[in-house]
C-alpha cells in the first residue's frame, strides 16, 4: 500500500512529462507529421468511417429507409448464417484452401528466392526474374480462360494428349476433386515469381562478412544458405506469414468465382463467392454484411493469435 501511494504521484508526474514530450516532439517534427496527415486522413475517411456501416448487419436494411429507418433485428442474420447448411461447407472449403495456400504455396517463393540468390551470372538472374514476374500482371480472367482452353474435354490440349496416349479423358473443370489442385496451381503459376521480390530484397542486406566467416569455417553453399541466409531473413518470413494468415478468409473472390460451377460448388464455394451470390446479387445487404463481418472477425483473431505466438517464440511480430 505504502509503496503504491508513493509511486502514484511519481507516475502522474511522469505521465505529464511524457505528454509534454510528445507535444514537443510534434512541434519539432511538425513537417514530418504533416506528411503523415494525408495518409492518416485516407485511413480515417476510407477505412474507419465506412466501418460504421457494419451496423446494418444487425438490421433488416432497406436502402430507401436508410440506416436510421431500417428495423433492428439483433442477431437474426448471424443465426441464419450459422444455422444454414451451407455454413459448414463454406467454412470447410475456406479452411482447406487456406491450409493449402500456407503449406503448398507459402514456402515456394522462399525456395525460389534462395535459388535465384545462388545464381552468379547477373544477366541470367535478371532475365529469369523478369520472366517469372510476368504472370503476376495477368488478370484472373485471362489465367482461368487459358486453363479452360488447356483442360476442356471438348478439344483441350491436355485431354487430347491424354487421349492420344491411350488414356481416358479427364473432366478437370467439372470434377470437384480437381478444383483445389487447379486453384492452387494457378496461384503458384501467377504469384510465385512476384512473391520472391521481398525475400530477394531481404537477402541482399545480409552482411557479407557472415558469409566470409562461414566460408572460413569451411561451410559449403548449402550450409551457408541454411545457417546464414535463412536465419537472416527469418523476421521477414515471419512477418509475411502473419500477414498471410490475416487474409485467411480472403481467398480471392475473382479467382474462385471464375472457377466455380454447378458441379464443383461443394468444394469451391467460399465466403467471398457466397457474399456475392447470396448477398449482393440478391440485394440482401444486411446478410452479406453479416458474412463479411464474420470473415473480418475471424481474420483479426487469427492475426492476433499468430502475432502473439510469434512474439512468444522470440520473434518481432508485425506490431
Amino acid at each position: 500500500m505504502k509503496v503504491s501511494s508513493i509511486t502514484a504521484p511519481a507516475n502522474l508526474h511522469l505521465e505529464k512529462r511524457k505528454s509534454a514530450a510528445v507535444l514537443t516532439a510534434v512541434k519539432k517534427y511538425k513537417l514530418l507529421y504533416l506528411m503523415i496527415l494525408p495518409g492518416l486522413l485516407y485511413f480515417i475517411v476510407f477505412k474507419y468511417m465506412p466501418m460504421g456501416g457494419l451496423v446494418i448487419a444487425f438490421q433488416d436494411y432497406q436502402p430507401f429507409l436508410g440506416i436510421t429507418g431500417s428495423d433492428w433485428v439483433g442477431f437474426k442474420h448471424f443465426i441464419r448464417l450459422f444455422t444454414e447448411p451451407t455454413f459448414m461447407m463454406l467454412l470447410r472449403n475456406t479452411l482447406i484452401l487456406f491450409a493449402m495456400n500456407i503449406v503448398l504455396f507459402f514456402p515456394l517463393p522462399i525456395i525460389v528466392a534462395l535459388m535465384l540468390n545462388e545464381l552468379r551470372n547477373r544477366h541470367l538472374k535478371n532475365w529469369i526474374q523478369t520472366i517469372v514476374y510476368i504472370p503476376h500482371f495477368m488478370s484472373w480472367v485471362i489465367i482461368v480462360s487459358i486453363t479452360y482452353v488447356f483442360l476442356t474435354v471438348d478439344g483441350g490440349v491436355i485431354n487430347e494428349l491424354i487421349a492420344s496416349l491411350g488414356g481416358k479423358k479427364i473432366s478437370f473443370l467439372t470434377s470437384p476433386e480437381w478444383l483445389r489442385t487447379i486453384y492452387i496451381g494457378q496461384i503458384i503459376w501467377k504469384e510465385l515469381g512476384w512473391s520472391t521480390i521481398i525475400y530477394l530484397a531481404a537477402i541482399t542486406v545480409v552482411d557479407p562478412q557472415l558469409y566470409e566467416a562461414a566460408e572460413m569455417d569451411g561451410a559449403a553453399r548449402l550450409r551457408k544458405t541454411w545457417h546464414v541466409t535463412l536465419p537472416a531473413i527469418r523476421p521477414v518470413i515471419i512477418t509475411l506469414l502473419i500477414l498471410k494468415i490475416g487474409s485467411t478468409l480472403d481467398l480471392g473472390f475473382e479467382h474462385m468465382y471464375l472457377l466455380l460451377n454447378s458441379l464443383n460448388r461443394e468444394v469451391a464455394e467460399i465466403f467471398d463467392t457466397y457474399i456475392y451470390t447470396a448477398g449482393l446479387k440478391n440485394g440482401q445487404l444486411s446478410f452479406s454484411t453479416t458474412v463479411g463481418l464474420f470473415k473480418g472477425v475471424v481474420g483479426l483473431i487469427l492475426v492476433m493469435a499468430s502475432n502473439r505466438l510469434a512474439k512468444k517464440m522470440g520473434e518481432d511480430g508485425v506490431y
Partner: protein, 500 residues
C-alpha cells in the same frame, strides 16, 4: 507555406460552390421544361446494355428530335446488372427512368413494394400506345395488383431449336417433330460424320452452363413439364422439379450426355463459346431461335453450304406442343423513381416519352435505324439490314430497350430469320405460363435464388452421371426443408387471394 495552404483551401471551397451551384441551375431548368411542353425535356435513363459497347449518338439524336427530349443514358452491362441495379437502388443514385428486368430479385421487389416508384396504373390509359397494353400483361407485370412502371412487352415465348439443315439433308433425316427424332438426330450428328470430313469431330447438341435459357428448359417443355410451378384445381402448387416430366427430361439429357451426343463440357461452357462451336461446325443443334442471324454471321466464311432451320413444334409423341414463357411476355419495367420524378406533371411527360417510343417512327429507329443507311425494304417489302456492323454500333443496343417488341411486325428479308420470327409468334398459341409471375413470396424473394442453386446443381450432376435418382430426390427434399415448403405455402396463399 501557410499562404499556399490558404489559397488551396480557398480554391477547393470555390470549386465546391461552383459545382453545387451548377446542380441547382440544372434542377430549375428541368422544372421549366416540365412546365413548358414545347421545350425539350431532359431525361436520364438507367438502362440495361445487352451489347458489348454502348450505341453511338446517331439514333439517340433522332430519338431526341422525335420525342422532343434530351436524353442521357446511363448504361449498365447486362452481365453486371444484378450488382449495379441493386447498388443503384441501395444508394438512391437513380435516374428519371430506371429499367428493371430482374423482377424476382428481392431488392428490386422490396423497393417496388416500398413505394420508391410511381404507380403508373391510373395514368397509362391516357396514352394511345400504352392504353393498348393487354390486361394479361398488366396483370403479369403488377405486384399485388399495382403497376409500378410501364412493362416491356415481349413475345410470350421465344424458345426453340436451330438445326443444321445441310447436315440433316446429307444424312437423309427429316426436320424433327418428336423428341425421339431429336435424339436420333443428336446421335447421327455425332456418329455419322455429318460434315463428311471422315473425322469423328462433331457432337449433336451444343449446350452451355445454363439450364433455363439453354436446351434443358426447352426440352423439359417438350416433355410437358410445367413452367416453374404446377397448379392443380385445388390450388396446390408443385415445383417443376418435383414432377415426373422433369425426371424424364433429365433422363433424356443424361442419355445424350452418356453417349457423347451432348457436348461433354457443357456445364462450364459460356454462351459465346457455344455459339462459336456451332459456327465452327463442331455441334449441329443450338437452342435459341432468336440467335439465328448471329449464328449465320458467325459462321460466315467458316461453314460452306451452311443451312439452318428453326424448329418450335416438338412433341412428346402425343402431338401436343408446349413451350415455356419467360415472364409471361413481360421483359421488365420502366420505372420512375419518386426521388427523381418529383411531380405528377413530370411523370406525365415521361409517360408521353415512353408512349412516343412505341410510335412506328421511333420503333423503326430503335429496331432498324435509319432507312437507307442501316436498313431498307426490298421489292417484296421485306426488311433487310444493309450494314450489319454499322447497325450493331448504332442501333442494336436500342433494340432491347424498346418498350414494346411486338407493336409492329416486320417481314425479314432473310428467310431463316423470317421463319424464326413466325415460329416465335406461333409459340404464343401453346405457351406455358409460370403461375407465380404475378404472385409474391417473401421467402422466395429472400432465399429463392440460393435455394434454386440446390436444384440446378443436382440437375447438372444427375445429367452428368455424378448423382443418381435418390441423390436428386434428396436434393429436392433439402430444397423443401431449407425453405421450399414455405415458398410453396406462400404462393398457394397468394394464389388463393387472386382467385377470389
Amino acid at each position: 507555406m501557410t499562404k499556399r495552404w490558404v489559397s488551396l483551401l480557398a480554391s477547393v471551397t470555390l470549386l465546391t460552390t461552383v459545382l453545387s451551384g451548377c446542380g441547382g441551375d440544372k434542377e430549375t431548368a428541368k422544372n421549366a421544361a416540365v412546365a413548358d411542353e414545347s421545350k425539350p425535356l431532359e431525361i436520364t435513363w438507367l438502362n440495361i446494355l445487352h451489347t458489348a459497347s454502348p450505341p453511338t449518338d446517331t439514333i439517340k439524336k433522332l430519338l431526341e428530335e422525335y420525342t422532343n427530349t434530351k436524353l442521357t443514358f446511363n448504361w449498365v452491362p447486362d452481365a453486371s446488372k444484378e450488382e449495379r441495379i441493386t447498388t443503384a437502388l441501395a444508394s438512391g443514385e437513380l435516374a428519371d427512368i430506371v429499367t428493371l428486368t430482374m423482377m424476382t430479385n428481392s431488392s428490386v421487389r422490396s423497393s417496388l413494394k416500398s413505394g420508391l416508384f410511381w404507380d403508373v396504373g391510373p395514368y397509362i390509359d391516357d396514352y394511345d400506345n400504352l392504353a393498348k397494353i393487354a390486361p394479361e400483361i398488366r396483370a403479369a407485370a403488377s405486384i399485388e395488383g399495382v403497376l409500378y412502371g410501364v412493362p416491356f412487352q415481349k413475345n410470350l415465348a421465344r424458345s426453340g431449336f436451330i438445326f443444321r439443315k445441310d447436315w440433316l439433308d446429307k444424312l437423309g433425316l427429316p426436320v424433327p417433330t418428336t423428341l425421339d427424332e431429336v435424339y436420333e438426330i443428336a446421335r447421327a450428328f455425332t456418329e455419322d460424320d455429318p460434315d463428311g470430313n471422315g473425322i469423328d469431330d462433331t457432337t449433336g447438341f451444343g449446350d452451355r452452363s445454363d439450364l433455363r435459357y439453354s436446351s434443358f428448359k426447352t426440352l423439359s417443355s417438350y416433355f410437358g413439364t410445367p413452367n416453374g410451378w404446377k397448379v392443380d384445381d385445388s390450388g396446390k402448387f408443385t415445383p417443376e422439379f418435383d414432377t415426373q416430366e422433369y425426371m424424364d427430361t433429365m433422363n433424356f439429357s443424361k442419355k445424350l450426355y452418356e453417349n457423347g451426343y451432348l457436348a461433354q463440357d457443357f456445364a462450364v461452357t459460356a454462351k459465346t463459346d457455344q455459339q462459336q462451336q456451332f459456327a465452327q461446325g463442331k455441334t449441329g443443334i443450338y437452342t435459341g431461335m432468336v440467335d439465328i442471324s448471329s449464328l449465320r454471321t458467325l459462321a460466315q466464311d467458316l461453314q460452306e453450304g451452311l443451312e439452318l432451320v428453326p424448329v418450335n413444334k416438338i412433341s412428346n409423341g402425343d402431338g401436343q406442343y408446349h413451350i415455356w414463357s419467360e415472364g409471361s411476355g413481360v421483359g421488365g419495367l420502366m420505372a420512375f423513381p419518386k426521388s427523381e420524378v418529383k411531380t405528377e406533371a413530370e411523370l406525365k411527360r415521361l409517360l408521353q416519352f415512353v408512349n412516343d417510343l412505341i410510335d412506328e417512327e421511333a420503333f423503326m429507329l430503335m429496331t432498324g435505324g435509319i432507312e437507307g443507311t442501316h436498313y431498307e425494304y426490298d421489292e417484296n417489302g421485306a426488311y433487310k439490314v444493309l450494314n450489319t456492323e454499322l447497325w450493331q454500333a448504332d442501333v442494336q443496343p436500342f433494340s432491347s430497350s424498346r418498350p414494346s417488341e411486338i407493336a409492329y411486325t416486320l417481314k425479314d428479308a432473310n428467310p431463316e430469320k423470317q421463319l424464326a420470327n413466325e415460329l416465335i409468334r406461333e409459340n404464343d398459341k401453346f405457351a406455358v405460363l409460370d403461375p407465380t409471375v404475378p404472385l409474391d413470396s417473401a421467402t422466395n424473394n429472400e432465399q429463392g435464388t440460393e435455394l434454386a442453386k440446390i436444384i440446378t446443381d443436382a440437375t447438372f450432376k444427375y445429367i452428368m452421371g455424378q448423382a443418381n435418382e435418390a441423390d436428386f430426390k434428396k436434393a429436392v427434399q433439402t430444397w423443401k426443408d431449407s425453405g421450399g415448403t414455405k415458398i410453396t405455402e406462400e404462393y398457394e396463399a397468394a394464389y388463393k387471394l387472386t382467385q377470389k
